[in-house]
């Protein structure tokens, strides 16, 4: 870190490198007359501009808007009015709204259930992949790759079709259950016409299945990659010492894969907290308020008439804060291992 002179000198002398002693292994400078000190900054300019203009500054703006009143009069094309400063009013109103609390509950509950199911199923499939022969594991990887590759909107469409009230395959399968069993479990025998996408709870149920189906492959393949990195001698030693497979998993596999699991957990949390396209498709837009998660609630507040952008922004800010708190541990961890290399 000797390049502290940049701030003082600015870019002024960048093109005048003559006479300065050169270190021997530096490339000749004739092609680009740029002092090597400034090269990384020049390379970073487009990236920093994009991230600043499209992510950081809008985030700041969202924060500001969450304290303002921004509706039709402010966003209309002709003669827009300036935004009105409200202070904390958007937030207090949001906190008084029942839909906010049900959205928050849905977001947290959905994430908790889906993240744990995804990790369990994904790890099980990853361990399975590791035990299979080469041909069999390639076959299975290609199969689960299909589930992973389906675009989120198409996922929503597919599962909506599988759970269709009249012609859905799920209702057909439930009708196959023997009547007494179906009656004992669910209190009904005939499932034809069961409108799964009408009620909040069953919408969220379908959402869990959809997201689980599409996201366990990533966990499985990552766990497989991690398992491949564990030396086989460890397992041999465990077997010689008489350790069973369950014990081997918890004593050897799990501790060694901990970093992988940490990352997978965090990534899954980030993804499942803001699941939007699947939910939007499943309920055909922001229709059923009880099934909203925070993303959908923010979208509905800001873009359904009458648009309340301020309150939508407040919800988005709350969601961001929750996400940052949940993931701050991970970021700290990454930064610690990061800044040396």
């Amino acid at each position: 870190m000797t390049d502290t002179s940049i701030a003082r000198r600015g870019g002024g002398s960048a093109s005048a490198p003559a006479g300065r002693p050169r270190r021997s292994h530096r490339p000749p400078k004739k092609a680009s007359g740029l002092n090597p000190k400034y090269i990384p900054y020049v390379l970073l300019v487009p990236g920093i501009l994009v991230i600043g203009a499209l992510l950081l500054y809008p985030m700041f703006q969202a924060f500001v808007i969450s304290f303002q009143k921004v509706g039709i009069p402010q966003i209309r094309d002709v003669n827009p009015r300036p935004a009105e400063w409200l202070g904390w009013e958007n937030y207090t109103k949001v906190f008084e709204n029942d839909i906010f609390w049900s959205s928050l509950r849905n977001t947290l509950g959905f994430a908790a259930v889906t993240v744990s199911l995804t990790l369990i199923v994904g790890t099980a499939v990853g361990v399975l992949l590791n035990q299979l022969s080469k041909r069999m594991s390639t076959f299975l990887i290609i199969g689960i790759m299909f589930a992973w590759a389906v675009p989120p909107v198409a996922q929503g469409v597919i599962w909506r079709w599988l759970f269709d009230a009249e012609a859905g395959i799920i209702n057909w399968a439930l009708n196959l259950l023997p009547d007494f069993l179906s009656n004992a479990l669910f209190g009904r025998a005939d499932w034809t016409g069961q409108p799964w996408t009408n009620e909040a709870f069953s919408i969220l149920l379908i959402l869990v299945v959809t997201v689980l189906w599409s996201s366990f492959p990533f966990v499985a393949v990552s766990v497989l990659a991690g398992l491949k990195g564990i030396p086989g001698e460890l397992y041999e030693a465990a077997r010689v010492d008489g350790s069973g497979s369950w014990r081997t998993f918890w004593k050897i596999t799990f501790p060694l894969l901990k970093p992988v699991f940490a990352v997978l957990t965090i990534l899954s949390i980030i993804w499942d907290f803001k699941v939007f396209p699947q939910l939007y498709t499943l309920m055909n837009g922001p229709t059923n308020r009880e099934a909203f998660n925070l993303s959908m609630f923010s979208y509905a507040e800001a873009f359904r008439s009458p648009p309340k952008m301020g309150s939508g922004a407040a919800i988005a800010v709350i969601l961001t804060i929750i996400l940052l708190v949940v993931t701050s541990f991970y970021i700290r961890q990454m930064v610690k291992s990061e800044d040396v290399q």
């Binding site: 675009p151 269709d164 209702n171 873009f303 952008m309 996400l323």
Partner: protein
């Protein structure tokens, strides 16, 4: 000392026992393999069935679609749904138009994103400079920002800049959404190319530029392809910004257009499945192409940092 002679006598029975144990172990291993393979087939079926069901519904006639019976194969194989979505389409335009819009947005995003992320990844992987760590932390943190938080300010800016209802506006936004992860993923690919290769080129008299293009770039290219495909898929699948920025139906992308199949008078499942299939094909092809590299990029980018 009395145990030593005893060992001599056990010699033969031990051999027998060993053989028997080997046999049992062999059977057990075989049983285990069969069990594992059948579980694998089951997982395969569960993962594949919804995709298969989408494709098979797209090729069934309506009386095979709208039935409470289970018809595993489209015995009444038909292209009518595919024909219909390509000619009539939905919301007043052929599905071709929406596929084209999606392709323009995704390719535009990739074209800009690939250049920007390669430059930035080279900077953080090849140079030690002041502010490097802060930049890396910023990259991580901005990935936590939910798109919903950016939705409102970006919507207002897009309107102000006259990019509303323009594919260009969507491209710009998608570049912003995909760039942090692109840089993050690509820098591991750049870092994995030994620096000594470039230094050797410098010693041979190559300039930095030449060394970059002739040495580093060819070696990073596969990683750049993987990163670009990741951005392509993200932009191709993006729904929420396309919903709010494109108001005219001729500018819809596929994810938005698919929403319009759900009508008041029942849903045309054959048509929507045909369209979803068309939307899914490019993504699946890309996935299978870069499958291995993408996983290593995702995990390395995430795990090792």
């Amino acid at each position: 000392m009395t145990t030593v002679p005893a060992y001599k006598n056990v010699d033969r029975p031990r051999q027998d026992q060993l053989n028997r144990m080997r046999k049992v172990a062999k059977y057990r291993a075989k049983g285990r393999r069969i069990a594992l393979n059948s579980v694998a087939v089951m997982v395969f079926v569960v993962a594949m069935f919804p995709v298969y069901w989408m494709v098979s519904t797209a090729f069934k006639t309506n009386d095979q679609i709208f039935t409470t019976e289970f018809i595993p194969f489209p015995t009444s194989f038909t292209f009518e749904h595919l024909d219909r979505v390509l000619s009539e389409g939905v919301a007043g335009n052929s599905i071709w138009l929406y596929l084209r819009n999606s392709a323009i947005v995704a390719l535009g995003t990739v074209a800009v994103g690939a250049v920007f992320s390669l430059l930035a990844a080279t900077a953080v992987a090849r140079f030690r400079f002041k502010g490097r760590t802060s930049f890396l932390i910023a990259l991580l943190v901005v990935q936590m920002i939910p798109a919903e938080a950016l939705l409102i300010p970006l919507f207002l800016s897009v309107k102000r800049l006259g990019l509303y209802d323009q594919l260009l506006g969507l491209i710009v936004i998608n570049v912003g959404l995909t760039l942090p992860f692109g840089i993050w993923m690509l820098r591991t690919f750049v870092a994995s190319v030994p620096k000594s290769l470039e230094e050797a080129a410098w010693i041979d008299g190559a300039s930095r530029m030449t060394a970059f293009w002739k040495v580093l770039f060819p070696l990073v290219a596969p990683g750049l392809v993987a990163t670009s495909i990741f951005s392509f898929i993200t932009a191709w699948n993006e729904l929420i910004f396309a919903l709010i920025i494109m108001s005219d139906s001729s500018g819809y992308t596929m994810p938005v257009a698919l929403q319009f199949f759900f009508g008041q008078r029942g849903t045309d499942w054959g048509a929507i499945m045909a369209s979803s299939t068309l939307m899914t094909i490019p993504v699946v092809v890309f996935f299978l192409l870069v499958q291995r590299r993408m996983v290593s990029g995702l995990v390395a980018g995430a795990v090792k940092g």
